[in-house]
């Protein structure tokens, strides 16, 4: 009993009354999920181009797309990104610094440390669906997750952002005022208190600054 009390004591001393421990920016996100629909290809290209080659978290992206497998989206994104862009097979392990793009016709889901795919029906008329990615990632990664919702013309993503916020993850939504299509960002903002609402130009910088190397074991 007393030993336990002694162990707990320093933690209480350090953390409770003021918040000195919180002044150091937390840099402990393992995964960034990004969702976009209408206008998303240009926005994603802009965003990915801003991320450094040593970006230490994994990224998973849903961009609404047609179901046929032969679209050039992977090449379009890969061409501007310093990070490798892959369309994962089922069961691929998440690696830091890799961009995983939901393949056409499949939902992309996050499990603890790996990705799974699903062909269950469209959600909000979309497969891949942003909500499916965000909700599964929120379940698996909780506070170690950043979710970014970009331009889009549907409500897909709004429920996902809410799930991420509920699980303690960090939420970022593109400012509807400057987004190519404001519907998705506005739907998310109407539903959830979002941490950062930013124009596209500033989101890359925010991510690079936030997801730093050397954050914990």
């Amino acid at each position: 009993m007393s030993a336990q009390a002694r162990l707990e004591a320093p933690a209480v001393e350090g953390g409770a009354p003021t918040t000195p421990a919180r002044q150091r920016p937390r840099a402990d996100y393992d995964l960034v999920v990004i969702g976009a629909s209408l206008g998303g290809v240009a926005a994603l290209r802009h965003l990915l181009a801003q991320l450094p080659a040593e970006f230490p978290a994994a990224l998973a992206i849903v961009q609404h797309r047609r179901p046929d497998a032969d679209s050039p989206l992977q090449q379009l994104l890969g061409a501007v990104s310093l990070l490798p862009v892959r369309e994962p097979r089922d069961r691929e392990r998440l690696e830091p610094g890799v961009v995983y793009l939901a393949p056409a016709g499949y939902h992309l889901l996050v499990e603890a440390g790996w990705l799974s795919l699903s062909v269950e029906g469209p959600v909000s008329w979309a497969r891949p669906s942003i909500d499916v990615l965000f909700e599964s990632a929120a379940d698996a990664y909780r506070r170690r997750l950043v979710a970014v919702l970009l331009t889009g013309s549907s409500e897909d993503g709004a429920a996902g952002v809410a799930a991420v916020a509920r699980r303690g993850g960090l939420t970022v939504v593109e400012d509807p005022a400057s987004a190519h299509s404001p519907v998705s960002p506005a739907a998310a903002l109407a539903r959830t208190k979002v941490r950062h609402v930013l124009p596209l130009q500033e989101i890359g910088g925010l991510l690079s600054g936030m997801v730093k190397i050397g954050a914990g074991p």
Partner: protein
């Protein structure tokens, strides 16, 4: 990245181990801790539900991948019009018809004739010539859902003159889906899409000769059905029932966790003749399984493999 190992044993708590281990739990103002507690109760309820179903009915869904399982259980709640997992459990444990609905809600029955046409094109060009070398051919389509892909295979075999010496065993966990598959009656409105897929798959003939249309339905011709056997089979618990030259199991294992998937791969391996073909979904890979070295890729990008040892 700090990550706990990918999978816990089926039935173990689903998320506690996943919560970032190196993040101190701090109660925060938005009440997300309370929400997390409620979520943990939901996890517990889910475990109880799945354990109950396994013990009561012998259908074990505990080996399914958690992320999509959660989504589909929510859909099952919606179908039953219940608001809690306990209410769902109450129904499903007592009423066989509710169990069947639950199984249907959990099975993902997205299919279509000649789905992924390039796969059928490759089967026609590369696999059927191999099958031709056998006097009698057994094919197992595991997880056949409503049967569209089974009939597609029958058409392919028919066109290559092989159907007469083939038998296709089409299995699924769901009786409801099997009944529909057995009937071979599909909505007429889908036929245009199926016809397009048939041609993309290298179909040579007039697709409309394979069915009889009434005002709403397309009824597939009996001669396609003659070599098909539909039967209930549960990949989770049932064993091998024959030896096959070709096994198709497309987009089924993606819903299974590691342990269950390994079990099913063992089952397929044991059920394939040497040099037999295994067709997975086009985004599934043998690479992530312990049986990788027993197969060679026929076409890796289409999920087509050949057992070589």
């Amino acid at each position: 990245m700090s990550r706990t190992d990918a999978l816990r044993p089926a039935g173990a708590p689903r998320e506690r181990d996943v919560t970032a281990v190196n993040v101190p739990v701090v109660a925060n103002a938005d009440g997300s801790e309370a929400v997390n507690a409620a979520d943990d109760v939901e996890e517990l309820e889910l475990d109880l539900l799945l354990t109950g179903i396994a013990r009561r009915w012998g259908y074990d869904f505990r080996g399914y991948s958690p992320a999509s399982l959660r989504r589909r259980v929510r859909r099952a709640m919606h179908v039953e019009g219940v608001r809690s997992l306990s209410a769902l459990q109450e129904r499903v444990l007592h009423r066989p018809e509710a169990l069947q609905r639950f199984i249907s809600a959990l099975s993902v029955n997205v299919t279509g004739m000649f789905r992924d046409p390039q796969v059928y094109r490759t089967l026609r060009r590369q696999v059927l010539p191999m099958l031709r070398t056998y006097p009698f051919v057994r094919i197992w389509h595991a997880g056949c859902s409503t049967g569209e892909e089974v009939y597609s295979m029958a058409i392919l075999l028919h066109e290559e003159g092989l159907l007469e010496r083939c038998r296709i065993y089409a299995t699924d966990i769901s009786d409801d889906l099997l009944q529909r598959a057995r009937r071979g009656v599909f909505p007429l409105r889908d036929m245009q899409e199926h016809t397009a897929a048939y041609h993309r798959a290298g179909g040579k003939g007039d697709f409309s000769t394979y069915y009889i249309a009434d005002h709403q339905s397309a009824i597939l011709r009996d001669e396609l059905r003659r070599h098909l056997v539909f039967s209930q089979h549960n990949l989770v618990s049932d064993s091998s029932f024959n030896e096959f030259q070709l096994i198709l199991c497309r987009n089924v294992l993606i819903y299974f966790s590691e342990a269950l998937r390994e079990r099913v791969h063992r089952l397929f391996y044991d059920s394939l003749v040497n040099f037999g073909i295994l067709a997975l979904g086009i985004r599934e890979s043998m690479r992530f399984t312990p049986y990788a070295d027993r197969y060679e890729a026929l076409v890796e990008s289409l999920g087509l493999y050949r057992r070589v040892r």
